[in-house]
């Protein structure tokens, strides 16, 4: 029997980026806010201290900062005619656990999606005709436009101290920036990071083949920074340990380095760690959420009532919680009806390995130190002749040169022994890769539901992921990998080879933690779980944050858009919902 706790104004499920932003915004609005986090607390010192954080084995290989599949996992299959099996090791993606969430271990690649991304169906139909979109592709407009989100992108970028170079200031294209980006009201808060030699080579080569390279926007500080909350960050030292690690130098934006120093001092905010939220409980009408149930590390069950409940967990976990709580109509791929679990999407990545004669010193890196081209992202180019939808950026990142996982040798090198060692010694300092980061559209048969067989430690059915790459994505990825190869060749390497995905999606090799969808936003309750303000259509005091609301995935890292959407929703809650509690959009 769950012990019932005193009620509070707001409960946040999870305590990562979105919860931290909301907690700050909603306590500013005078509310009492409580965050429930499944993992533990951690902070720059002592947990990410420079005295030991640069430990690749512990963090990157043994996954210190991530969820443990022995406790929490999901099942997976490629298609509906298969039996899904549990994922017993983290592989293709790595959901984080602990305060700060993925904001602790990310690289800091902080993009804005393109204006056309937010109205993809309308845009594609207008430009290429209705028949251009395959019948089983269930892409849809977001219900919010780039222009509406622009102030909130700006807010997130200034919170984080993004280093970058504007490409479009209020409609005026800026030399050296990304000419394809949507108009921004002002420049980035910090100038771009210092270049690595490899990115300089990339820039020159990209220009030679006629593309428009620019410094990628980075949540790694190029200079000391004080954000609008008064929180201070130090200058990035290019230590090369961003992704999978916490930053020991206060240089990578995370909840810890941008919000928590202010938030944790507020009497109106509290958090509890080691809390697995297992249910959102509804009242008798089924139209309002009453409380959440959670189980702590002692195995004790609690019921925490709140007036407002906001799901801020990792994308799939939000969807899982909706499904086990019976909120919203579960998606049925056979009929195409229902919404919860619908439009799961991912990203398709590839790279071109490049072996040069120059010394590149790859160990001096930062998670978002890169030079990119956006010529083949979204609808920045004419898709007519190509017959696919979507795109991605092409970039050369110098994120680091860690000894275990960040090395590469030419194709056909032996996998071990003297031959491998020789190749490693010859190539460590002189090799690099050009990455592509491709969008994945949503499809009728890519979805999340509850597994009929496997259950978690609490006896709840596991989430089941049914997903595969479609021809559209393979075509697109081959196309942009070809463009990356053009740049690679212009770098005049001694050798190069493309490394791209083919065939079915595999959950085993790491690809990207940019899982999206399942609780998508939109203007029609028949095709979305939450409205344009991220409020549940069914339960008006329940909101859902994060990438689970993306109706399909774009060719960018998602955090910038997640941050913008969170500020957008927070604004709607503060200025609309709190004044008149109830649905913000009439169905």
């Amino acid at each position: 029997m769950a012990k019932k706790l005193p009620s509070t104004d707001v409960v946040l499920v999870g305590f990562g980026w979105t919860a931290s932003i909301l907690a700050h915004e909603l306590t500013e609005a005078g509310l009492q806010v409580l965050a429930l986090e499944r993992g533990g607390f951690r902070d720059t010192v002592p947990d990410f201290a420079t005295t030991y954080i640069q430990d690749e084995l512990r963090y990157a290989v043994r996954h210190e900062l991530f969820e443990e599949p022995a406790r929490e996992t999901m099942t997976f299959r490629n298609s509906m005619d298969q039996v899904a099996l549990p994922m017993r090791h983290l592989g293709s993606f790595m959901p984080a656990a602990g305060v700060g969430g993925a904001g602790v271990h990310w690289n800091g690649q902080t993009w804005r999606f393109l204006p056309s991304d937010f109205m993809i169906r309308t845009h594609i139909e207008q430009r290429y005709g209705k028949n251009f979109i395959p019948e089983d592709m269930t892409i849809q407009d977001w219900g919010v436009t780039y222009d509406e989100l622009e102030p909130y992108y700006d807010k997130f970028e200034y919170l984080c101290g993004i280093s970058g170079q504007a490409g479009n200031l209020q409609g005026k294209i800026q030399a050296g920036g990304n000419p394809f980006e949507g108009p921004r009201r002002r420049d980035y808060p910090l100038p771009p990071l210092k270049r690595s030699y490899a990115t300089a080579k990339f820039e020159q080569a990209a220009k030679e083949v006629g593309f428009d390279p620019f410094p990628c926007p980075a949540a790694n500080t190029s200079k000391p920074y004080k954000n609008p909350l008064g929180v201070q960050m130090g200058e990035c030292t290019y230590c090369g340990y961003c992704e999978w690690f916490g930053c020991g130098n206060y240089s990578k934006a995370s909840p810890q380095t941008t919000i928590l120093p202010v938030l944790l001092k507020k009497d109106s905010f509290s958090y509890r760690t080691g809390c697995d939220v297992t249910r959102v409980n509804l009242d008798g009408s089924g139209k309002l959420a009453r409380s959440v149930t959670y189980i702590d590390r002692q195995g004790k069950e609690y019921e925490q009532p709140a007036d407002l409940i906001i799901l801020c967990a990792f994308a799939q976990h939000n969807v899982h919680l909706l499904l086990v709580s019976g909120i919203g109509k579960p998606y049925d791929p056979a009929s195409g009806e229902g919404v919860v679990g619908r439009n799961y999407a991912y990203q398709i990545t590839s790279s071109v390995k490049v072996f040069l004669d120059d010394i590149l010193n790859p160990f001096m890196g930062a998670g978002a130190l890169g030079q990119g081209v956006d010529n083949f992202n979204g609808d920045n180019f004419d898709h007519g002749p190509h017959g696919f939808i979507g795109g991605g950026y092409i970039a050369l990142w110098t994120t680091g040169g860690r000894p275990i996982l960040q090395t590469q040798v030419p194709k056909d090198t032996p996998k071990w022994g003297g031959g491998w060692k020789k190749a490693m010694a010859e190539n460590y300092l002189t090799s690099t890769e050009i990455a592509t980061h491709g969008s994945v559209m949503s499809y009728r048969n890519s979805y999340l539901d509850l597994d009929p067989t496997y259950r978690d430690v609490y006896g709840n059915p596991l989430l089941r992921l049914t997903f595969d790459f479609h021809d559209n994505e393979h075509k697109m990825s081959r196309f942009i990998t070809g463009k990356a190869a053009q740049i690679a060749q212009a770098m005049k390497p001694r050798s190069w080879y493309p490394d791209q995905r083919s065939g079915h999606y595999s959950i085993v090799p790491y690809q990207t933690t940019h899982n999206t969808g399942g609780a998508v936003m939109g203007n029609d309750p028949k095709t979305s779980v939450v409205n344009r303000y991220l409020q549940s259509w069914d339960v008006s005091n329940l909101f859902v944050m994060g990438a689970s609301v993306f109706p399909q995935n774009a060719g960018y890292n998602p955090t910038g858009t997640v941050g913008a959407l969170t500020y957008w929703a927070a604004d709607a809650i503060r200025n609309k919902y709190l004044k008149n509690r109830g649905p913000l959009v009439r169905a």
Binding site: A49, T51, G234, P261
Partner: protein, 412 residues
């Protein structure tokens, strides 16, 4: 308010008959506010409030070279606090160091400085303390060896080292300077840490604020105009920023001073901080020049430079730090202090910047206790004290071992 009649009666009774001494006498809001301000200025909570405990209920162990003294309860509890104390009783304690029972107080209670406070200010402090929630808390007796354990010995001490008397403004100095002097010499009791003491714990007037061992392996630096380990290179604005926010372009507070800033100086008005800065900037460097230390061994310097590059340079760069974020080591008074304790302490235990209204982040340096051994820390500390034009005596591995042992035994 909708209370049942019985409760209403009880509520009325409590105001009528069991009223706390708040309402007594001529205390006004402005006097209470002034008292509260002075209680901040005097950092009374440093000793009289236990971490996480009831405000001003006492109990914190104040370490002295002779033993521990437990700060008493100064809430208005009539049994265990100062609820029965009259204004005169309180003034006697603050001005003469004598408690309500006529017993001498130990000078761990800074009456040698509080004696400079005006009678009005002392009354204001009492008025504020009277508004606190009375807390029943009996604190422990001091743990001191004989003869210090005998309070009568303090009469002798006072005769030798204590001169009661309110602050007298110095003619020819500005009102601002005199205000600064009043705060530094009185409520702020800066000399308690920053002035060297003799073997009986009395401050050496001739070396006023020239830097001193502050206990627990912290060294309170020289506050005079010394260019090497004093405030000679600091502007008035540097001092104000430091006291208001916990750091400035040159340095950041750590350890005990971080607590002083968090609890005390950040709450002072800009006028008062400027006054303090004006007073401090008027204190000339001591006439005696620094002894010419011999240059540290080149091999130690080379080792130190390597260790610095691997462990320190990421934040502190080439000694220049990162402005406003990570402190500058080049030219730093703390780095070049007469005694290297603070520097060793920070390397061993790490440090956290004060979390203030103006700078809430609380940036931290990690502990190198487990990463560097005594010889390595000695080398890097010696290097930092003598690189980039810095100059100070080298540090031995034995000295580091001593601080390491002290910290392990619970100090600092």
């Amino acid at each position: 308010m909708h209370l049942p009649p019985l409760l209403l009666l009880a509520a009325a009774a409590s105001t009528l008959f069991i009223a706390p001494p708040v309402s007594a006498g001529d205390t006004s809001y402005s006097q209470i506010a002034r008292g509260r301000y002075l209680v901040h200025a005097g950092d009374c909570a440093a000793c009289h409030t236990v971490d996480g405990g009831q405000p001003f209920a006492g109990g914190r162990a104040v370490p002295t070279p002779f033993g521990k003294i437990y700060a008493p309860n100064i809430t208005p509890d009539s049994e265990t606090g100062i609820g029965k104390w009259s204004d005169d009783d309180f003034y006697k304690a603050m001005h003469y160091g004598i408690d309500r029972d006529g017993e001498h107080l130990y000078p761990a209670f800074p009456y040698p400085w509080f004696t400079r406070l005006s009678h009005d200010d002392v009354s204001a402090i009492k008025a504020y303390l009277d508004t606190l929630k009375p807390v029943r808390n009996t604190t422990r007796p001091p743990q001191l060896p004989w003869p210090m354990s005998w309070r009568g010995s303090l009469a002798v001490w006072n005769k030798l080292y204590f001169q009661p008397g309110a602050f007298q403004p110095q003619a020819g100095k500005s009102a601002e300077w005199n205000r600064g002097a009043y705060l530094v010499q009185g409520a702020g009791h800066c000399a308690a840490c920053h002035t060297p003491k003799n073997f009986l714990g009395a401050t050496q007037a001739k070396q006023s604020l020239q830097g001193s061992d502050a206990g627990e392996h912290w060294y309170a630096p020289d506050l005079t105009g010394d260019l090497r380990d004093g405030l000679g290179h600091w502007s008035q604005a540097d001092i104000v920023e430091y006291l208001k926010t916990g750091s400035n372009a040159k340095t950041a507070a750590a350890g005990q001073m971080a607590e002083v800033i968090e609890r005390s100086t950040q709450h002072l008005s800009d006028y008062d901080l400027k006054a303090i800065a004006t007073y401090l900037k008027d204190m000339p460097a001591p006439a005696s020049a620094h002894e010419q230390e011999s240059r540290p061994d080149q091999q130690v310097m080379n080792n130190g430079a390597g260790i610095y590059l691997d462990n320190c340079a990421a934040c502190h760069m080439d000694g220049s730090g990162q402005p406003g974020v990570f402190p500058e080591l080049k030219g730093s008074a703390t780095v070049q202090a007469e005694q290297p304790d603070t520097l060793i302490h920070v390397v061993l235990a790490g440090a956290k910047k004060p979390e203030t209204e103006g700078k809430p982040t609380g940036l931290q340096m990690p502990s190198f206790r487990d990463k560097l051994d005594d010889a390595q820390i000695a080398a890097v500390v010696t290097y930092v004290r003598n690189a980039w034009g810095n100059r100070a005596a080298g540090v031995s591995a034995d000295k580091v071992a001593e601080v390491r042992k002290g910290l392990r035994n619970g100090g600092g």
